[in-house]
């Protein structure tokens, strides 16, 4: 999305939404909601939880859009809301010491979300698929060992490709802190996955 163009569109929509125009708000939602859902799903590993976070985030945004003063981009603002909700969720789960991300499918069977990695190349090489699933599990476990913040910084950098400066803005910290956090996160992950090549 052309950055400058996106910004200009947002401004008009945001002003409309601030006036109570729900259709304008819904249009804003549609530009960002896929990324938001993706973020929530990666971090919680649960479709159900991801959906809850999605609801909470956008409802919060809707209720508070009157307070948005354009001091940052809408993108940053909405991401801030979502990351805070995700951080809370991660911390809650850490306290309960849950295992690697699991979800329940239609028959009530638990399965690891990482097992469901859709891959166009799968099927052709079962051994490779098995390795990939194993790796997925290992990565999932390794991510669990990170602190909530380390996990978040890594997720935003690695899976969303955001610049650490943006990550800092979103998490309301400095770029320097974000850099250090990324460093720690990758170190921990490398240690956890040291025997996988």
């Amino acid at each position: 999305m052309a950055g400058q163009e996106r910004r200009i569109d947002d401004t008009a929509l945001i002003r409309e939404a601030q006036q109570g125009n729900r259709a304008a708000f819904e249009e804003l939602v549609r530009y960002y909601d896929q990324s938001v859902l993706r973020l929530a799903l990666h971090l919680t590993g649960s479709e159900h939880e991801a959906q809850d976070i999605y609801q909470d985030a956008f409802l919060k945004a809707y209720k508070n859009i009157g307070n948005f003063r354009f001091e940052c981009s809408f993108y940053t603002w909405i991401y801030r809301i979502v990351t805070n909700l995700c951080l809370d969720q991660i911390r809650r789960k850490q306290v309960r010491k849950e295992d690697a991300p699991v979800a329940k499918d239609k028959s009530g069977e638990e399965f690891s979300l990482l097992d469901q990695v859709a891959d166009g190349r799968s099927g052709a090489d079962p051994e490779r698929d098995l390795m990939r699933r194993e790796l997925g599990k290992r990565i999932g476990n390794a991510l669990e060992k990170l602190t909530a913040r380390e996990r978040m910084v890594f997720e935003l950098k690695h899976y969303h490709g955001l610049k650490l400066r943006t990550v800092g803005e979103i998490l309301q910290t400095t770029e320097e802190t974000a850099k250090n956090t990324l460093f720690r996160a990758t170190q921990k992950l490398r240690v956890a996955l040291v025997d996988m090549r």
């Binding site: 109570g20 729900r22 259709a23 708000f25 819904e26 939602v29 549609r30 909601d33 896929q34 859902l37 993706r38 799903l41 990666h42 590993g45 479709e47 991801a50 959906q51 999605y54 609801q55 956008f58 409802l59 809707y62 209720k63 859009i65 009157g66 979300l113 990482l114 469901q116 990695v117 859709a118 990939r132 790796l135 997925g136 990565i139 950098k157 690695h158 899976y159 610049k163 650490l164 850099k179 990324l182 460093f183 990758t186 170190q187 992950l189 490398r190 996955l193 996988m196 090549r197």
Partner: protein, 309 residues
């Protein structure tokens, strides 16, 4: 010493976060230092490894259902300026309609307001209690707007409105109290969605004389075509047995502003096409009606009944 700096910054390098000058320096160092070159290789491999194993992505289903739930939630979310909630939002209606193909037959009739929204929730399995509460809490407590006045020369507006305290009655369709409320709602409620819901429930019991009366009333006088069509469909089966039903359907055929309803009424009169009053109407329509379809159909019905004589 330089190696230490390199090791600290290799992650940033691999994620393309180093400033240009720092990146250049790292490149230079790695070209001359085997240790750091190995370290760089490891860091790159690690990143590739993770990229090879992407995390689960949300499927279209999850996204669609999340959007729908959000839309529903937004309806009751307060943002300020509650009186805007009362206004009909065509964009939102279109959205709901896209999600419910079951409403396709109803869509044929133009001029819907809140009725479609209520029908949609009825189809998706809303509870069978009479719909005393409408779409937003604020709306439910407003009995009616008494007056709206604007101070001349300013944007200050004063609105007088009556509120009611909301109560709830629960029970089966057979209970007298429930039926009473449904009949009242069908006739009186200002919100067409609520009228629609109650007519919907009443159509399940068209045997009852009182219910039939309410349905006839709705067919004759309700301003919302969706409500009228629901009543019409329920009454259709009684056209032969009940003269008042037949007359009401005839009236709808002649007077209703909605083409879809007129067409449907014509179709429902088929069993009684031989009746003299019906024939009289059909003859007028065959000759003078604006709609070609109505003219043709009337002629065809008339032709069929002469053959039977």
């Amino acid at each position: 010493m330089k190696c230490e700096w390199v090791k600290e910054n290799i992650t940033l390098y691999v994620y393309d976060e180093l400033a240009d000058d720092a990146r250049y320096e790292l490149d230079q160092h790695v070209a001359r230092c085997a240790d750091c070159a190995a370290e760089l290789k490891l860091a790159r491999e690690f990143r590739s490894l993770l990229l090879e194993t992407p995390a689960a992505e949300p499927n279209a289903n999850l996204l669609a259902s999340s959007r729908m739930k959000l839309q529903e939630a937004l309806e009751t979310a307060e943002q300020g300026g509650f009186w805007r909630r009362l206004a009909f939002d065509p964009a939102r209606w279109l959205h709901q309609v896209k999600f419910s193909p079951a409403l396709a037959s109803v869509i044929l009739l133009a001029g819907f307001a809140g009725g479609v929204g209520a029908t949609y929730s009825a189809l998706s399995g809303a509870k069978l209690a009479p719909a005393a509460t409408s779409s937003t809490p604020a709306e439910a407590s407003i009995a009616g707007i008494r007056s709206i006045s604007q101070e001349p020369g300013s944007d200050h507006v004063s609105i007088k409105y009556d509120t009611v305290s909301t109560q709830e009655a629960q029970g089966s369709l057979n209970e007298a109290k429930i039926q009473q409320l449904l009949l009242f709602a069908a006739r009186n409620n200002y919100n067409s969605g609520v009228r629609m819901d109650s007519v919907n429930l009443l159509t399940q019991k068209p045997n009852d004389a009182q219910v039939r009366e309410a349905l006839i009333y709705a067919l004759r006088y309700d301003s919302n075509p969706g409500v009228r069509v629901k009543s019409l469909d329920a009454l259709g089966n009684y056209v032969k047995d009940d003269v008042s039903v037949r007359d009401a359907v005839l009236q709808a055929l002649v007077n209703d502003s909605n083409q879809g309803i007129r067409t449907e009424a014509l179709r429902l009169l088929e069993p009684v096409k031989a009746d003299s009053s019906v024939r009289a109407v059909l003859m007028t329509l065959a000759a003078k009606d604006q709609s070609e379809y109505i003219r043709k159909q009337s002629r065809s019905l008339l032709a069929q009944s002469t053959e039977m004589d």
